[in-house]
């Protein structure tokens, strides 16, 4: 994302014009654009004109529309963002109040004006999105005999691209049938993987599995490449990185990201840092020394008690909380983040809910904190509040 123009007043009003460059930027835009914001972008609109004789004709026009956002819709697989709303500024083709759905396009500017003003979180998103050194992408194939998950991870997200299930007959039957099935399984994975990745690019491809499946697959890939004379695939050899995981299920990605070989390969990326932080949190939970707390109520109390401040206090918060449709809820979390960062002096990590570490945090209610000193009774006397928090946890 490139920042084209920024024009934010002290009171938070003002506009920002952005230029999205890669599909990942659409995810940032999705986190940035909230209902009631004003969005100005180029649009393709069908206009119907009626002639004097009563016959009508319609044609498509390229125009720039300003809409007041009603809802946003992000397609994770295709990385496209659709924003629907009502036209807020009249032009030659539209009247105020007409509905339009903008499909934000790559390499076309769009301008946002926040309805509630630019708060720290939205400014943070813009800054993060425009940071050129966001983590590199990588591919991962997590497999065990018969199942495979092909995932892509970028700076912000991990996306499960494809799940593959090939039945492999048991030990009991004919051994050759089994070998054939395994070969079919491998060739299916390879076929789909080649369809997903851009073979010219040199992105790491992590192959994770229990025991020998991953290394067998790598052998299969190289054998196939040699046999078919696929030079591009052969050239990918150094990018393949077989690692160990205990299952072939998608959630084993967490385990894969902890593998030292993977960490060293991806050490600069944001998700590696986030994964490390979430791991640290879970580690503290295990120690049960009162320094790790999760859940909205508990964390707010801990912040109130001044425990998430200078000297190691960390607030982990999922960006899904900022996407809440309820303005008050959004404001509540923004205020908490501001307070920890600016008043208390603690560290704030906004995790991407689409990322593996964010998904783990999601289970804990989307928010957790590592405290500077132990508190043991944060969860007492609040059974009724818990009931309210339940939806967030699920």
């Amino acid at each position: 994302m490139r920042l084209i123009k920024q024009n934010i007043e002290r009171d938070g009003s003002g506009q920002v014009t952005l230029y999205p460059e890669d599909p990942e930027d659409m995810w940032s835009a999705y986190n940035l654009i909230r209902p009631n914001d004003l969005l100005r972008a180029s649009a393709l609109r069908r206009v119907t004109t009626e002639s004097a004789t009563g016959s009508s004709s319609s044609h498509r026009v390229h125009t720039t529309l300003t809409i007041r956002v009603r809802s946003t819709n992000f397609d994770a697989q295709a990385s496209t963002l659709h924003v629907s709303g009502q036209v807020a500024a009249e032009n030659d083709f539209t009247k105020v109040g007409q509905y339009h759905t903008l499909d934000l396009e790559l390499h076309r500017n769009f301008t946002i004006e926040k309805a509630e003003g630019w708060d720290s979180v939205s400014k943070g998103i813009v800054a993060e999105a425009c940071n050129a050194k966001r983590g590199a992408s990588a591919w991962a194939v997590i497999m065990s005999e018969g199942i495979a998950n092909i995932a892509m991870f970028t700076g912000e997200r991990t996306v499960l691209k494809q799940r593959i299930n090939v039945p492999i007959p048991g030990k009991k039957g004919d051994g050759r049938a089994r070998d054939r099935a395994v070969e079919r399984f491998f060739s299916t994975i390879l076929e789909i993987l080649l369809r997903c990745i851009d073979i010219g690019e040199a992105l790491p491809i992590l192959l994770a599995s229990p025991a020998y499946t991953a290394s067998n697959f790598l052998k299969f890939v190289m054998d196939t490449a040699t046999r078919t004379g696929n030079k591009q695939l052969l050239a990918q050899r150094p990018n393949f990185l077989p690692v160990h995981s205990s299952t072939g299920q998608y959630h084993s990605l967490a385990e894969v990201l902890k593998d030292p070989a993977v960490v060293s390969r991806l050490k600069d990326t944001r998700y590696a840092r986030e994964t490390a932080l979430v791991d640290k949190f879970f580690e503290l939970m295990r120690k049960d020394d009162g320094r790790a707390w999760y859940g909205p109520g508990e964390v707010e109390k801990a912040v109130d008690a001044g425990a998430v401040g200078r000297g190691g206090g960390v607030l982990l918060i999922n960006n899904s909380l900022f996407r809440s449709l309820d303005v008050d809820v959004r404001k509540r979390w923004v205020a908490l983040v501001d307070r920890v960062r600016d008043v208390e002096g603690g560290e704030v990590k906004v995790l991407s809910s689409e990322h593996e570490s964010g998904k783990r945090l999601e289970g804990l209610g989307g928010i957790a904190a590592i405290l500077t000193y132990p508190i043991f009774d944060l969860d007492e006397d609040k059974p009724e509040e818990d009931v309210q928090e339940e939806p967030a946890a699920v």
């Binding site: 007959p169 009991k172 039957g173 299952t247 959630h251 295990r286 049960d288 707390w293 818990d386």
Partner: protein, 777 residues
Amino acid sequence: MSRHRFVKTLDLDDELEDFDGQQDSTDIYDPNQDPQMRKALAEARAFLGDDFANMDIQDSLWYYYYDVEKTGNERKRVTPKVHLPKHHLKLGSSGYYAIPCIPSLTAKGFFMDCPWLNVPMERRAEILVEPLYPRGGLLGGSSREPPKKSKLAALVAARKQKTQEAPSQSENSALTLLDTLTNSDDCGGATTNDKDKILRGRRYPLQRNEERTKSTYESQVQDNVSSSKPTEEVQELEPNAPVSSPSGFASTMLGLSSTLQHTPPNISSYNLFYTTGSDMGANSDPFSGASPDDIIAKAQGAAKGMKSKTQAKTNGQASKEVNTVSEDLSKTAITDSKPPRSKNLDVLQEYRKSAAKRSSNFVVIGHVDAGKSTLMGRLLYDLKVVDQRTIEKYQREAAKIGKSSFAMAWVLDQGSEEREHGITIDIAMNKFETDKTVFMILDAPGHKDFVPNMIAGAAQADFAILVIDASTGSYESGLKGQTKEHAILVRSMGVQRLIVAVNKLDMVDWSQSRYDEITQQMEAFLTSAAGFQKSNISFVPCSGLKGDNITKPSTDCKWYTGPTLLNLLEAAEPTSQERALNGPLRLPVSQVFSSSTQFPLSVAGRITSGSIQVADPVITIPGGQQGYVKGIAVDDEPSDWAVAGQNTTIHLSADIDAKLIKGGDVLCSASMPISLRQVFIMKLLAFEHIMPMFCSIVVGRLDASARITRLLSILDKSTGKVASGRGKKPRVVKPNEAARVEITVDVEGGVPIEQGARIVLRADGETIATGVVEDAK
């Protein structure tokens, strides 16, 4: 013109005449069997004396397939009744003494005043008070359906009729079915008999496709008829016959009275589609159509070739005789694939009768490279299950790749990858027999990565052998590793009996002190941490490679005089696990494979509840594929049936797509499939910290991704109640605590899990908890 139309327009009586007397029901009597018959007849004569007609005895002999003793008993039992008209009439439900009916009575006329599913109230009420009596089908039926007559039984009945002209022909023609049902006291017996016969009489010419659909109706009516027969005689005759469950039709007619509800909704209505193929048609004259043997011949022909279509056409004529009710029913879907003939066994009865050896499964567990497969290979070799030549071949091949010590293990490790790496990857199953017991070895992988496979094996086991590597260093590393994990896992899977084989003692020169050290430590661990009872653990020092103390006492190990491993196995009473013989069929699939061209798709597993027999309709869950059973093998021996607790291989029909069934699926009876659960509550015992987190759930062969979504409460381990203090809404469950949690499965549509299922939770390659499903919603 479609067949349905054809059926609609046909003139029933016309058709009846066409078929009159054309077929002789005895014409397929196999002359090859004549000598056998003569011989059996002579024997039966000797057994019975001269009071019985040759014909009768022959009939019964045929029916019992020349089993003289059974024939004798049956003749003795039945003959006196035959001569008493009253009893005779009431025996109708057993199907043998059905009385010829009035030819003019057609089903159409019979049911004319009785709109289906619209039975007047006053008629329903009467039946409710009647207790449900068994119908004495001699062949019985599968445990959950009313006994039915086989083709042969029907044939015997038909022949019987020919020889004995019953006198009561003209009495009850005007009675409707429902009147019959309500008047069981005076004329009920006779009319029911008539009814029975009407229903059964016209069985022959029907063509199978129609039969399937009609049979629902048919069997339902039969159910009704039989359930309305509270005659004492019948009860006396068949004191042990199972009470049949009400059919769907009967339920509709009668409502579900409390007396009927003790059985789950009728499974049999499905089975009947296949099993009572020809017991139908409403003809007053049983001899007007083809004989049952023709039908069998036809069906067999159809089943063999793919000419079912033509078959249908030639049989089309016969199907004209279908009565108006079945006409509607026949419009339902018809498939071409023909199930094999069901033998209609009463599986539970068969199971009780069968004097089979005790069968016992045991799982072999332990740390990787403890020598589990080698120990079992040695056991099989010493018991001559594997011959010398095979072992020599393995030895040569193993030596070729520099793994000569693995030769014994290759008996079980058949996979190329397993041999290459010298480890077991998946459960291997091998059978051996001693004088008393049939044992099934489940050789589990010891490697950490394959713990889910080991769990799949442990789920099928009655008891376990824990193999411990006694050599220096290996024992210690095993104790931290899978020795410990496996022991805890098998215990939590319900295994109570454990044999600890202290292996590789030859590596430490049969040191008794080493053995004592290991036994002491293991006993302490197994009784405290794993929760085994001391009396249920036994130890044996052995060497799998050398064969000491496996089947014969060791010569090197002088200080040990106790039983060998084989003695211990024989002594191991499998803890009597409750076998849910009466439940609906549940077969968790552990393997899917193709065994031969005859059976392109087979599944193996241990039945957890219910029973199954050839031709039963089944459904795979979650695949939802319906098909039927083509063949069954129990402990690798072909069988006609199988019950809960047996290791079963089911050969499935081609209706089921092999791509849509995998290990971890559940094969169910088609009428009572297991339901899929996305969210469930379970009670667990934690081994690691439990928080809301990702994990995998392992249930037998099923290994699915899931999340712990809520921690509901910490439980007091002794009382099982919510613990005081931080019992409510904990934020973390600590190791060794019991808790109740909510699990959400990350599988679209959910997984097949039932209440009481034993679940293992794993995360990051470790077992974090085990538990039991409390409530699935």
